[in-house]
């Protein structure tokens, strides 16, 4: 896989290297700076913003962790993101199956409705949503966060799932129908199994989106114990004063899980896209 393509002009190759190395540098340098700055205390960051830490300290991490309640925030983040993603994937596959393999004329309207969701920002529904949730007793509950996570994940997920499932040969389903399987059984035993690649894609995209989400958790919950990492991190960007050291530490804590997730899921992402997601 890592074999070099030898059969290519030197010009192209040089261009490729210069371009990619440039991209790598602008990505890595700020992140490394953030990383080592998080081991410096506020005074040192203010005085010598660029220098490596003279006496590296974990104090920022300890403070960020304890004062920012980042332990509980991390658990909340994992659960909001995980559960939200799980249901987004499940529901979008089910909807994708219903919208492609049942040949109902109404399907295209449902599909169009989901497409519309791609265009809607959290900001434009947040106020009515808040009022709705308080009326229904969902305000400040974790379900009240997870439901909107699922809702905002669905449009993209349904689109991906629909286009993928449409490509699944009808013969596969017909065979199962002849065997006497119900549609629900077909969904569980055939569609879900065959759709693993697109599931991976939807999972990764939804996960990314949920992990970095801020406004929903912030508006729809109230206590410290309900908050997710981005909301905790934001708390360090104080109103009139900023403790950069602690903020950097919090940023690192919030960013590393995502990078690890990507490294772990990398193959899945590539494969998912490759297996024909995004075909119209």
């Amino acid at each position: 896989m890592q074999k070099l393509n030898r059969d290519i002009s030197a010009g192209w190759r040089l261009f490729a290297y210069v371009f990619l190395i440039f991209f790598t540098l602008i990505t890595l340098m700020p992140l490394l700076w953030m990383l080592y700055s998080s081991f410096k205390l506020q005074g040192e960051i203010m005085m010598y913003p660029l220098a490596l830490p003279k006496e590296p300290t974990f104090k920022n991490y300890q403070d960020a962790w304890s004062i920012g309640h980042m332990g509980i925030a991390a658990i909340n983040s994992i659960l909001y993101t995980g559960i939200g993603t799980f249901f987004t994937v499940l529901f979008s596959l089910a909807a994708g199956f219903a919208l492609t393999k049942f040949n109902y004329a109404s399907a295209k309207w449902y599909y169009a409705a989901f497409t519309l969701g791609l265009l809607i920002t959290v900001n434009s529904v947040i106020a009515p949503l808040f009022i709705m949730e308080t009326r229904m007793g969902l305000y400040d509950t974790r379900i009240g966060v997870i439901l909107p996570y699922i809702a905002f994940g669905l449009p993209m997920a349904v689109l991906l799932a629909t286009s993928y499932i449409r490509g699944i040969p009808d013969s596969l389903i017909e065979a199962a129908v002849i065997d006497g399987a119900s549609y629900i059984q077909i969904f569980l035993k055939v569609i879900i199994i065959v759709s693993t690649p697109v599931m991976a894609t939807i999972t990764v995209l939804t996960f990314l989106r949920n992990w970095n989400e801020f406004i929903l958790v912030f508006i729809l919950t109230s206590g410290e114990h309900m908050r997710s990492l981005p909301v905790s991190i934001n708390a360090f960007a104080g109103r009139l004063n900023v403790n950069y050291g602690m903020q950097f530490a919090a940023l690192v804590i919030g960013t590393i899980p995502m990078i690890l997730f990507y490294i772990g899921a990398h193959n899945m992402v590539i494969k998912g896209f490759g297996e024909g997601a995004l075909k119209e």
Binding site: Q42, G43, M46, M47, D63, I67, G68, L79, I83, I126, A127, F130, I131, T134, R135, Y139, D140, T141, R142, I143, I146, F218, I219, T221, S222, G223, E224, H225, M226, N234, A235, F236, A237, G238, R239, L240, N241, V242, N243, M246
Partner: protein, 442 residues
């Protein structure tokens, strides 16, 4: 695998899934409030308990918990724009907490002007009110309502100077605006910047400089007239003040990139000894006492913008009672809770709370005998400053917030040379005339 084995596996998996989901549901429901006979007050404060700036607040809360174990809080905190965003949603849905941050000015008009906050006048006695700096009791509503007890005064204009650099350059704190301009060359030649001021967020020039200039050029009377439409923001005092800001930009008084720097970054520039003056708010002294080395602190002088030729006033600053805590009007029907909330407000702002906050760098509105405390030099300087400086109005505390969305960007455009001071004044006056609640009389 046999059929029965497969079935068993499946039912096990199903049971596992159900267990997982049900535990998830329990978790997803959030924590329940536990009643233990205590009076529980819910709060929503624009405060960041993790920020060292609010250490004093945290200490007062601890002291209150010790003094009043019968009262328990269910706290919620937020800062910045997001505080207001959520607060408005709360107000809209009618789910207001019991005690919450309330501004004296227009910033929380969405709760004060919609009758959601208890008027405290009936609950504060004269003796209590007399123990405060009289400036704290400026009317907060059109009928003279008092919604919050201001814990301190927000002094919005101070011109700090680094006297070490001034001495080094053979200069002294300027007596006149002209002298300030004449210092620019000397300061820049020596490799320093004259004045640090971070206006990236658009409001600092307005709050911390323009307000003071307008007070100098027109005085309080003119401003009161302009508010209600008996004078216009296109008048000389306002236009001339804008001209001065523009002139300061043109003559290189500000450090480069004044509109790209957050106010924290401007502080940073001053703390690093790169600039001679810092135009900032008075409450910055508390950060200086904690983050600057002692010899630097000793070199900091707290002054005000120098005298301007043709001004009606000299040596003034501007201030507004700072935001405090208000009480939900609905508590009037719940005597036990109301009592608890009032007890809290009085403790926090009265002598007990004030003494604690004083120790953490604040200058409380509740009068205290400073000689009994061992205070840092800068804090004493700040107390003196408040005592001896006449205070004018802060524009954005008096005028509608939406108008600031017109004025502040225009000031920036003017500083870049894309609008003239006169155009800025005309644009703002046009908006105020049509929309400002002071002019429309509500």
């Amino acid at each position: 695998m046999t059929e029965t084995a497969r079935k068993r596996v499946r039912s096990l998996a199903l049971a596992g899934l159900i267990l997982l989901l049900s535990s998830t549901l329990a978790w997803a429901g959030g924590d329940q409030e536990k009643g233990n006979g205590k009076i529980v007050l819910s709060t929503y404060f624009q405060i960041d308990p993790a920020n060292p700036q609010y250490e004093g607040h945290n200490e007062v809360m601890k002291a209150f918990a010790a003094a009043h174990p019968e009262i328990e809080f269910k706290h919620e905190y937020a800062t910045g724009e997001s505080f207001h965003q959520k607060f408005q949603a709360m107000a809209a849905s009618g789910r207001m907490p019991d005690v919450f941050t309330t501004y004296v000015g227009k910033r929380t008009a969405y709760i004060t002007e919609t009758g959601k906050v208890l008027d405290l006048r009936a609950y504060l006695d004269d003796a209590f009110m007399k123990s405060f700096n009289p400036a704290a009791w400026e009317a907060q509503g059109s009928e003279g309502e008092i919604y919050t007890i201001p814990p301190s005064m927000a002094v919005c204009h101070v011109m700090y100077a680094n006297t070490k650099i001034l001495n080094e350059l053979g200069l002294s704190f300027p007596k006149s605006y002209k002298e300030l301009l004449s210092q620019v060359d000397t300061i820049k030649k020596a490799g320093y910047y004259p004045v640090s001021l971070g206006n990236k967020d658009q409001w600092p020039v307005n709050s911390w400089l323009l307000s003071a200039l307008v007070d100098r050029m027109g005085g309080k009377e003119w401003f009161q007239k302009a508010m209600v439409g008996k004078a216009s923001f296109t008048d000389e005092p306002f236009v001339r003040s804008l001209e001065i800001v523009k002139e300061m930009v043109d003559k290189g008084v500000f450090s480069p990139g004044v509109n790209q720097m957050s106010n924290t970054e401007a502080d940073q520039e001053f703390y690093q000894g790169k600039s001679v003056y810092l135009i900032d708010a008075g409450w910055r002294t508390s950060a200086m006492t904690t983050s600057l080395p002692q010899d630097f602190q000793n070199a900091v002088y707290m002054g005000v913008f120098p005298e301007i030729a043709g001004a009606v006033d000299h040596g003034t600053s501007v201030a507004v009672p700072s935001e405090g805590f208000g009480i939900n009007k609905e508590l009037a029907d719940d005597p036990a809770k109301l009592e608890a909330a009032l007890t809290f407000l009085k403790f926090y702002n009265g002598p007990e709370g004030a003494a604690i906050r004083l120790k953490y760098g604040e200058i409380p509105t509740c009068k205290l005998d400073y000689s009994q405390y061992d205070l840092p030099r800068l804090q004493i300087a700040y107390a003196d400053f408040q005592e001896n400086t006449p205070m004018g109005y802060v524009i954005d505390a008096k005028m509608d917030g939406e108008g600031m969305g017109v004025l502040n960007p225009s000031i920036q455009a003017m500083m870049f040379g894309n609008m003239t001071p006169k155009e800025v004044a005309e644009k703002y006056e046009a908006w105020v005339k049509e929309n400002d609640s002071n002019r429309l009389g509500n």
